[in-house]
């Protein structure tokens, strides 16, 4: 997408807005705030299309990560922690079509539900609530080291199961 190509924004929106909105809503729990993040993410992309390098992976995954980061920042009223350019995500499937994404979403949900609950909870706290490892430790009453190991194990499990 070339900067200033307004038609292209519409097309990208049609393709990826549901992912972006869903992630924003999951994090923020508020439709108005989620809509604001949705707006911001696509505006940023239009202003700076060079930020995404298609050789490096899937635009859908990249947008999902950007959205999650922005939403967490909004949730915790922080300044954006990472620049939009800093995120490089290499996820193999493009997940561009609704069908692809539904299939992938279902698969991941399956993996999550098969995970030990403490592992899943730690992952979700970190990912969707933007908690730091010490905050998670504090909330769950578990030692720091345990939290670290759980999160790493959780991500590994996701990767293995998804690649299978």
């Amino acid at each position: 997408m070339k900067s200033g190509d307004q038609r292209a924004v519409g097309e990208l929106y049609d393709r990826y807005s549901s992912v972006v909105y869903a992630v924003a809503l999951r994090v923020l729990g508020d439709t108005g705030a989620a809509e604001d993040v949705l707006q911001e993410v696509f505006l940023q992309l239009w202003r700076n299309p060079g930020a995404f390098d298609s050789a490096r992976g899937s635009l859908g995954a990249w947008l999902a990560v950007i959205t999650r980061n922005r939403a967490i920042d909004a949730l915790r009223r922080r300044r954006p922690e990472t620049d939009i350019e800093d995120v490089i995500v290499s996820v193999a499937p493009d997940l561009a079509s609704e069908a692809d994404r539904s299939r992938a979403a279902e698969k991941v949900r399956g993996i999550l539900s098969a995970m030990p609950a403490p592992q899943r909870t730690a992952l979700e706290m970190a990912y969707f609530e933007g908690m730091s490892h010490s905050e998670i430790a504090g909330k769950t009453g578990e030692p720091l080291g345990t939290i670290k190991t759980r999160i790493r194990a959780g991500l590994t499990a996701l990767r293995k199961a998804f690649q299978a």
Binding site: G4, Q6, V9, G10, Y13, D14, S17, S18, V19, V20, Y21, A22, V23, L25, T31, A34, E35, L38, Q39, F42, L43, W46, G57, G60, A61, A64, V65, T67, R68, N69, I72, E81, T82, I88, V89, S90, V91, L95, R101, S102, A104, A105, V108, R109, L112, L123, E124, A126, Y127, G130, S132, H133, S134, K148, I151, R152, L155, L158, R159, F162
Partner: protein
């Protein structure tokens, strides 16, 4: 198995932005010099993205699409307006900056150098019609100002105090960044045949630079206009010596006239 086991847990946390404090600082320092860990970080971020992708939920409200397109259109319009304004302002500023700063001498110098660069200017100006009209008019004005000083047929009158005999006087107008020099002299004593005056630019550093050879006319007046000069020579002073007609590459003492910048 990750390349650097001691960082493996921290990498996973970092990928989720959940790592803080000195652990984070230490990891960032390591990442700066470790491409393998950076690759692993990318992988982990991708794994985290799966979490994001697993989320389902309602679609965004329909109005959000139009809201986005409206915002984009507004920004695009603002961008092109800002670009256009910046171009006009910078062009105008640089022109008026000249006139604002210039004493008469500098204005004349500018006109003279423009005169010489006429061909080049016309080509450049041809590309911007509105600018051309404005600049061409101003160029005309400057030409009119400069003409009496430069034209050989112009009358030269030097006004001196009636109480003292006329003294030789020279005025040099120098524009460093254009290497433009105009020198006007009055009441110069006549010279023996085969001799001439030579003007020198005395730089801040280095040897005096030849800046034109001239002979006064019957009235003792002389002009030197835009002699070849090295680029950006910083002038501390100007001086005049008497040399052979052909001029010299270094001054022959004594210096007969000299002046530093006002």
């Amino acid at each position: 198995m990750t390349p650097h086991e001691q960082f493996a847990d921290d990498l996973a946390l970092y990928a989720l932005n959940a790592l803080e404090g000195e652990n984070r600082a230490a990891l960032e320092k390591h990442l700066a010099s470790c491409p393998e860990c950076r690759r692993e970080l990318e992988q982990l971020r991708g794994d985290g993205a799966l979490l994001a992708l697993s989320v389902t939920g309602p679609k965004p409200p329909l109005r959000a699409r139009q809201r986005l397109l409206d915002a984009v259109a507004k920004e695009a319009a603002a961008q092109s307006r800002a670009q256009a304004a910046a171009q006009t302002t910078s062009a105008r500023k640089s022109w008026w900056g000249w006139l604002g700063w210039a004493a008469t001498a500098a204005v004349i110098l500018f006109a003279v150098s423009l005169w010489k660069e006429n061909e080049t200017l016309k080509r450049t100006l041809a590309s911007g019609r509105a600018q051309y009209t404005q600049t061409a008019n101003e160029l005309e004005d400057l030409r009119r100002i400069a003409a009496p000083i430069i034209a050989s047929e112009a009358q030269r009158i030097t006004l001196v105090s009636l109480k003292t005999p006329p003294q030789p006087q020279g005025k040099a107008f120098y524009l460093k960044n254009r290497s433009s020099l105009v020198f006007v002299a009055n009441n110069m004593p006549p010279l023996p045949p085969q001799k001439a005056y030579e003007l020198w630019l005395i730089p801040v550093q280095g040897a005096p630079i030849p800046a034109g050879v001239f002979k006064p006319d019957a009235h003792g007046s002389a002009t030197v206009v835009n002699p070849p000069l090295p680029a950006n020579a910083e002038a501390k002073a100007f001086a005049i010596t008497v040399e052979n007609e052909a001029g010299a590459t270094s001054p022959t003492m004594p210096i007969v006239m000299m002046g530093a910048g006002e």
